[in-house]
C-alpha cells in the first residue's frame, strides 16, 4: 500500500519543518542578546534540508519515495551588530557591545515560509487519511 507511505513522507517533512520553526523561534528570541566580544555572540542558526530516499524512510518503501531530513544546522557567519555604548554593563574596554547577527526581517520571512510548508504537509496527511478511510469502506 502506497498510501500509508504518504504518512512517512509527510511526517518526515513535518519533523524537518518543526526543526526549522524551532531555529526561527530561537533566532528571534535571541535577536537582541548582547556580548562583550564578537566571538561570543549568538549566531543565527538555520537547518539544512536533504532528501531522504526510500530505504532511509522505512522498510518496504520504493527508492523514488522521498522524504526530508535535517542534514545539519549551520550557524550564520555574518558580522555581529556593533554599537558604541560605554554605559552598557556588557560593554568591552573600548565601550562597544556586540549584538547577535540575527536578521529579524529574514527570520520573519523564513517563519512565514516554514509555516506555509508545515500547513501544506498537514493538509497532505489529512487528505490521505480521508482517502484511506474511504478506501476501507469500499464495497459496503
Amino acid at each position: 500500500m502506497s498510501l500509508e507511505r504518504v504518512f512517512d513522507i509527510a511526517g518526515s517533512a513535518l519533523s524537518a519543518g518543526s526543526v526549522r520553526l524551532n531555529t526561527v523561534a530561537s533566532n528571534l528570541a535571541n535577536a537582541d542578546t548582547v556580548s562583550a566580544s564578537p566571538g561570543d555572540i549568538y549566531r543565527a542558526r538555520e537547518p539544512v534540508f536533504a532528501t531522504m530516499l526510500g530505504e532511509q524512510l522505512g522498510a518496504g518503501t520504493t527508492a523514488d519515495a522521498a522524504g526530508v531530513q535535517v542534514a545539519g544546522v549551520v550557524e550564520s557567519s555574518a558580522p555581529p551588530r556593533t554599537e558604541y555604548r560605554p554605559d552598557h554593563p556588557a560593554a568591552d574596554a573600548d565601550g562597544y557591545v556586540y549584538y547577535s547577527n540575527v536578521n529579524a526581517m529574514e527570520e520573519l520571512a523564513n517563519l512565514v515560509s516554514a509555516s506555509r510548508s508545515y500547513e501544506t504537509n498537514v493538509d497532505v496527511m489529512n487528505t490521505t487519511k480521508q482517502l484511506l478511510l474511504k478506501t476501507l469502506e469500499l464495497g459496503r
Binding site: 502506497s2 534540508f49 523514488d64 522524504g67 487528505t127 482517502l131 464495497g139
Partner: protein
Amino acid sequence: MTISIDSALGLHADALRLRERRTEILASNLANADTPGFKARDFDFAAELARQQGVGIRLATTDASHLRDATQGIPAATELLYRTPTQSSLDGNTVDPHLEKAAFADNTVRYQTTLMLLGSKISGLMKALRGE
C-alpha cells in the same frame, strides 16, 4: 458462465493502484518543497495505465528463458519523469508548490472517482450474486 473478479472490476483496480502511487509521488514533491537540489517528479498517468493493462508494444517471448518485457509478470515500477521547472530557483529545487498542490487536489478527486466506480462495480456484482 464464469466470472473472473479481475476482469469484472476492469481497469479500475489498476487505476486505483496508480492513483495511490501518484499520491505518494506528489506528497514527496510537496514534502521536499524547501529541499535544496530536489527535482520534482511525476509520471504520465495515461501511458502508465496503458502499460499496466498490457496495451502497446511489448516483446514477444516464445521461451521461458527469453528476455522479458517489464510489463509481463510482476507489475514493473512506474517510470518517473522530471517536471520542467517554470521558475527556476537558485538552490536547484524545481518544486512549484502551487502546481503540486493543484495536481494533488486533482489526483485526490480522481482517486475518489475511481473508488466510487470500483464501489459500484462491486455492488453490481453483489446484486448479481444475491439475485434480488
